[in-house]
């Protein structure tokens, strides 16, 4: 029995900021203090506050240490673990309130959150099945196998109102009922863990922090539809997630929670991993299944839908990681519990990956219907450096930009679509006044052009043409005719592309045109980039009155574009200038500005 437990985040965010070194230092210091038998160190999943990593929590006190380094470890071990004195100056600042220490639930970041999909992340050791079991793990599977019929399982999921968390928001229970209704000698259950949206990492965190929840939910789905085999399609770029999934599958098999005759009920279920090679299109369901079958990852027209003909042409249920993460809780707590959260048509919670110009970069899970303002200003802690909020991009390359005027909209599937964006998988990139909206649209289109599989013409050629027009505008070579042309081409791609990715690819252009058309016009008519991002439209100038002639700018210019003699005002040759901004950064007198 240990009297104290130290949880150190082993998610990708904290691992890259050095949590492994902290764990090594902890083991060493704890051994040196002779506390090995009293204090247990556990590597756990993501806490969500990635910006403050590496994160470490000491129980039973629940002290939340942020920004740990191996150098800090000695102090925490000697003071806190040995003598019981919490090291206040290393705690997460928000939890320290004068003399008292607040619990984590009371901090801005966690107060409004409701963790269902992420409930075990940062709580259990993901590489230890017994810890998952201690938190009611595999109880839902047990309940389903011993007390419920497959029809009852499907009904509970249907009644809960759970919708697909991968982006499109299709009702999960309905999907399961289609697959269950189809008779076949073999059916499959699959998990889409090919999280490809730039800036999205919620599925990775679930897999890293709580891999067993996905296995359990897939077995439940298997029972519900009559499948005994599952596939998890996970990107190879998620090495920690892959490793933990492998460990989890091994442990579940060893315990008899996967395999033949699970819990003595006669139900068989096993699953295997498939590693994706990193193509964005493989996150699309038909392409993903084609890839599992060993073919080139390309989508195909629907129907037939996967529930009729999926993996190896057999009825298949394919759900996203976060969708599965909700399933065991719904089984244990009931459909009503789940549907009591959220809005009329979107139930439960949603995980968002907050990124971009925001103070608390990280992972948040909030009930559906929370406003964007609550997420950005309260949970996210607002925009750094006192800048002004301009837009939030949701849904990755398939989504759109939400302007400040829509900040108070309650987030759910339908509301987001009505304002020209979409839920997507849950990436949320916050932008401030220094972001150019034309450039953002161009960035996402650049991504789509790279990732288009090339099977259908509207996507292969259409997105390329969109990109070229946007590129022209950002270079100051656009004309006013480009705007209607963009709109027309967008609509054409939306209506004619083969798969969901192509159909949604124009969304970044359409939504920025809808809310920020003035910026497009400024680029075209005034040849000016209001945010000062587009290089071709900005120029650096030296103020003759402020310039002291110190020559520092000229010495730092990589293109030799600055001339002038000592103690005389310098001049930038615009034809040579490459707009790197080195002169402005180096000027000690603030004489250089961007126009």
């Amino acid at each position: 029995m240990y009297r104290s437990t130290v949880l150190v985040c082993g998610g990708t965010g904290c691992t890259s900021s050095g949590s492994q070194k902290v764990i090594e230092a902890l083991d060493k210091e704890i051994a040196a203090a002779g506390l090995e038998k009293e204090v247990k160190v556990i590597k756990t999943g993501c806490f969500g506050l990635c910006a403050l990593g590496p994160i470490m929590v000491v129980y039973p006190e629940g002290s939340f240490y942020a920004g740990m380094t191996p150098e800090h470890v000695h102090e925490v071990v000697q003071e806190h673990l040995l003598k019981g004195r919490i090291v206040k100056h290393l705690l997460y600042k928000e939890t320290v309130d004068g003399e008292t220490i607040k619990s984590l639930d009371q901090t801005q970041f966690y107060k409004k959150q409701k963790r269902i999909a992420l409930r075990n992340c940062g709580v259990i050791d993901p590489e230890n099945i017994e810890e998952y079991i201690a938190y009611d793990g595999y109880q839902a599977l047990g309940k389903v196998l011993t007390e419920m019929t497959p029809e009852q399982v499907v009904k509970v999921i249907k009644d809960s109102g759970l919708r697909g968390r991968g982006g499109a928001g299709f009702p999960t229970g309905l999907k399961w009922s289609f697959a269950a209704a189809n008779k076949a000698d073999q059916k499959y259950v699959a998990c889409n863990a090919d999280e490809g949206d730039p800036g999205a990492f919620m599925d990775r965190s679930v897999l890293e922090g709580d891999p067993h929840v996905v296995l359990e939910a897939m077995a439940i789905a298997g029972y519900a539809i009559g499948a005994n085999h599952g596939f998890i399609y996970v990107r190879a770029e998620y090495p920690i997630a892959v490793k933990r999934l492998q460990i989890a599958i091994g442990q579940a098999r060893e315990m008899g929670l996967l395999g033949k005759n699970i819990l003595g009920t006669g139900f068989d279920f096993d699953l295997e991993l498939r590693l994706g090679a990193g193509a964005f299109v493989c996150g699309e369901e038909t392409a993903l299944m084609t890839s599992i079958m060993g073919h080139r990852g390309e989508p195909r027209p629907r129907p037939p839908f996967p529930a009729v003909s999926g993996i190896f042409y057999k009825p298949t249920v394919l759900n996203n990681v976060e969708t599965y993460a909700n399933v065991p809780r719904i089984i244990l707590n009931g459909a009503e519990w789940f549907s009591s959260m959220g809005t009329e048509k979107s139930k439960g919670t949603k995980v968002f990956a907050l990124g971009g110009k925001i103070n608390n970069t990280g992972l948040v899970e909030v009930p559906m219907g929370t406003t964007l303002r609550e997420i950005i200003e309260e949970i996210g802690g607002g925009i750094p450096n006192g800048k002004k909020f301009k837009a939030a991009q949701t849904g990755g390359p398939s989504g759109g930009c939400i302007p400040a005027s829509k900040l108070d909209i309650a987030i759910d599937y339908d509301n987001l679509i009505s304002i020209g964006s979409m839920m997507g998988s849950g990436g949320m990139i916050v932008m401030d006044e220094d972001n150019c909206m034309v450039d953002i649209a161009k960035f996402f289109l650049g991504f789509t052009v790279d990732e288009s599989c090339g099977k259908c013409t509207p996507c292969r050629i259409g997105t390329k043409r969109l990109y070229e027009i946007l590129d022209r505008i950002t270079k100051g070579q656009g004309t006013m005719e480009d705007i209607p042309k963009l709109k027309e081409l967008c609509m054409f791609i939306k209506e004619n592309a083969l798969c969901g990715l192509g159909q949604t690819a124009p969304n970044p252009v359409l939504s920025t045109l809808r809310y920020f058309e003035d910026e497009y016009i400024a680029h075209i008519k005034d040849k000016r980039c209001p945010a000062g991002v587009c290089k071709a439209l900005t120029c650096y100038v030296i103020d003759r009155d402020k310039c002291k002639g110190c020559t520092k700018c000229a010495r730092n210019c990589p293109a030799d574009a600055i001339s002038g003699s000592v103690k005389q005002p310098h001049v930038i040759d615009q034809s040579k200038c490459i707009k790197c901004g080195a002169c402005m950064e180096n000027c000690s007198f603030g004489a250089i500005s961007k126009k």
Binding site: K37, K83, E130, I133
Partner: protein, 123 residues
């Protein structure tokens, strides 16, 4: 794992091991003084005895924690028991042998062991 009953038994067994990670406010808190003075007077075996005894009896509502110097170094090892809604009880000059009785009489049955408390020693 052959049956659901077996799974539930494992869950109950594991629950006590991860229990300290739950933030229960109505827990009884047993706090052992573990400053230099406490450690020098032998607080470490006392703390270990408490954790073991609490685990052995599977007391889910008890948290064992350590704290710094309370200021009565001559009475170390000092152990304080905080029960919600009740006055705290301070045990002094503790040894590992005294622990079992405090756990059974006080933590389980709710009657403090008066003879070990600071009041008794002061007389």
């Amino acid at each position: 794992m052959k049956s659901l009953a077996e799974l539930q038994a494992l869950r109950d067994q594991m629950k006590s091991k991860v229990g300290i990670r739950e933030d229960e406010n109505d827990n009884i808190r047993v706090v052992v003084g573990m400053a230099t003075c406490g450690i020098a007077a032998g607080a470490r075996p006392v703390l270990a005895a408490f954790t073991e005894e609490v685990a052995k009896r599977n007391l889910k509502n008890v948290t064992v924690a350590q704290t710094g110097c309370i200021g009565i170094c001559q009475y170390e090892p000092v152990v304080e028991v905080f029960e919600p809604g009740k006055e705290k009880v301070t045990y002094v000059k503790m040894t590992a042998d005294k622990v079992a009785r405090i756990v059974s009489d006080h933590l389980v049955n709710g009657s403090p062991v008066t003879e070990y408390t600071i009041g008794a020693v002061n007389k």
